[in-house]
């Protein structure tokens, strides 16, 4: 059974912009999928539909068979974790507390509003921080860390949820190439070792090629490619990245060669 199932999904924003124009998608458990495409292609919108941060204008989205709607939102979010481009940590709180927010949906909320956590949750948080290699920064304020470190805390938070799916929305766009490499490696390792389904938005072609099992190319709200990295040839890339009014000449190829 597929983990994620989207059928005829469209999304139109109040200002009239059509971000998604009829998406059909199935994602299998344990897979590492990269969604590739230029800015404005709808990658972010697609990902955010999967955990309810956006709602589709039409069509349906299901995660493990459950529809993504208000009733199921908390349960779905407890199984679907997200990693953000801007890390989205609470700057003032310590890394440990940030990671612990991953446990918020997992038990009744009474203790957590007083910042009380059970020992088991603390253990899970410690484990997650160890996994991303940030044990020594555990008690520091999150906003005192570097970009790469903050992203790792973000991943630790996702891990603390003990999720079945991790969605990463441009996780390395704000990071330098070396750190980007580390983060992608970490995500790939989590997928391989823990069997967690990972879906990553990227705009860097090279990273997509190296880390993905499956690449979904998007352009202007539609899926224009769906296959393995080997199948992503130059003509395919051009389809993904072409824009209206740009002539199909070498400049696009040159640009993509450096992506």
């Amino acid at each position: 059974m597929s983990v994620i199932h989207a059928r005829s999904v469209t999304k139109r924003f109040p200002n009239g912009f059509e971000a998604l124009k009829g998406i059909d998608l199935e994602i299998q458990p344990g897979s590492f999928t990269v969604v590739l495409g230029p800015s404005g292609a709808g990658k972010s919108t697609l990902l955010r539909l999967l955990n309810g941060l956006e709602t589709p204008t039409s069509g349906e989205v299901r995660v493990y068979g459950q529809p993504v709607d208000r009733r199921h939102l908390r349960r779905i979010r407890s199984q679907v974790a997200m990693v953000f481009q801007q890390f989205n940590l609470v700057g003032r709180l310590s890394c440990v507390t940030n990671v612990l927010t991953g446990r918020l949906a997992h038990r009744s909320w009474v203790g957590s509003v007083f910042y009380l956590f059970r020992e088991e949750d603390m253990a899970i948080a410690r484990g997650a921080l160890y996994r991303v290699g940030l044990t020594d920064k555990a008690w520091e304020r999150a906003d005192k860390l570097s970009g790469g470190q903050q992203q790792r805390v973000g991943i630790a938070r996702a891990l603390a949820q003990q999720p079945k799916v991790i969605l990463a929305d441009e996780p390395v766009a704000s990071l330098d190439p070396v750190t980007s490499e580390e983060i992608m490696t970490l995500l790939r390792e989590i997928c391989d070792r823990d069997g967690i389904t990972v879906v990553v938005n990227l705009h860097q072609v090279e990273l997509a090629r190296r880390f993905a099992d499956r690449i979904i190319g998007m352009n202007s709200g539609k899926i224009v490619f769906d296959g393995s990295p080997d199948q992503m040839t130059q003509p395919v890339l051009r389809t993904i990245y072409q824009r209206e009014g740009i002539e199909d000449d070498n400049s696009l190829d040159m640009a993509l060669a450096y992506a």
């Binding site: 979010r77 997200m82 801007q86 989205n88 940590l89 609470v90 709180l93 909320w109 957590s112 509003v113």
Partner: protein, 267 residues
């Protein structure tokens, strides 16, 4: 005359200057102010003539009479305590209402509207009016005053908190929301930690303000030093009045310094 070729050589004329509305606004404002002065029957002449009288009048305050100092200090203590209780009450109420009145945290539109309107209502009622009502209902003494201060400033504090909460970075809220957090969890983890410094600043500001208001609440029987001042002025006892004013002044200045110091330490 060959003016034509010269004109052709000049650069294109600037577009006509847009009409400047400022002089009109200024004239209108001055006219309105003049109307007001007329309507209020304020005579600046009598004021000007009265300056000399006023100088003499203020001179009467020159010799403060501190014979009742201990009593005044005690009254000031009551005033301070009243302000503290009022502020704590306001903080409690605002703590629960503000997240509901913040568009990005509020669970639904109805709760948001109700919370917003409640806070607005609490703010709109002048605390003196509330104090009057509470004194009528609860009798004389400082407690109705504290309650009045609490209710009124809860409205302000709630609005300040709500506005701060609405400015919290959307990404931070989404980060916590994406873990499946519910409303109280969102508020405690994405809300308050993000605005802690601002929030403390507001509380100190309100405390400061409440000390000032508490010192006049006595005028309506709500305890404290206000009534004493009213009495001494009515009896034309300028010496005592001066002493009272100095006590109030000194206290307020001390609270000002203390709260500015605290704010610097937290900042």
């Amino acid at each position: 005359m060959n003016a034509q070729p010269l004109k052709a050589a000049l650069p294109e004329q600037l577009p006509p200057k847009p009409r400047n509305p400022m002089p009109v606004w200024i004239a209108a404002t001055l006219a309105m102010l003049w109307l007001i002065v007329w309507d209020l029957e304020i005579s600046f002449e009598t004021l000007a003539y009265g300056v000399e009288d006023m100088a003499e009048y203020f001179g009467r305050y020159g010799q403060p009479d501190f014979t009742n100092l201990s009593r005044y200090l005690a009254l000031m203590g009551i005033t301070l305590a009243t302000a503290l209780w009022g502020t704590v009450f306001a903080l409690l109420v605002a703590f629960f209402l503000a997240p509901l009145a913040a568009r990005n945290f509020s669970p639904n539109a109805v709760a948001y509207r109700i919370a917003r309107e409640t806070l607005n209502f609490m703010r709109a009622m002048p605390d003196l009016l509330l104090a009057l009502l509470f004194v009528a209902a609860l009798g004389l003494g400082p407690m109705p005053g504290a309650l009045a201060l609490g209710v009124h400033t809860a409205g302000f504090l709630g609005k300040f908190f709500a506005e701060s909460l609405e400015r919290v970075d959307r990404g931070v809220c989404e980060g916590v929301a994406s873990t499946g957090a519910n409303f109280p969890q969102m508020v405690m983890y994405a809300g308050w930690p993000s605005i802690l410094r601002e929030a403390l600043g507001y509380v100190l500001y309100i405390l400061d303000r409440n000390v000032r208001m508490a010192s006049v609440l006595g005028l309506v029987g709500a305890g404290g030093i206000g009534l004493a001042l009213h009495d001494t002025l009515r009896l034309f006892d300028y010496g005592q009045s001066a002493a009272l004013i100095l006590v109030i002044l000194a206290t307020i200045l001390m609270i000002d310094y203390a709260s500015a110091w605290l704010r610097r330490r937290l900042g």
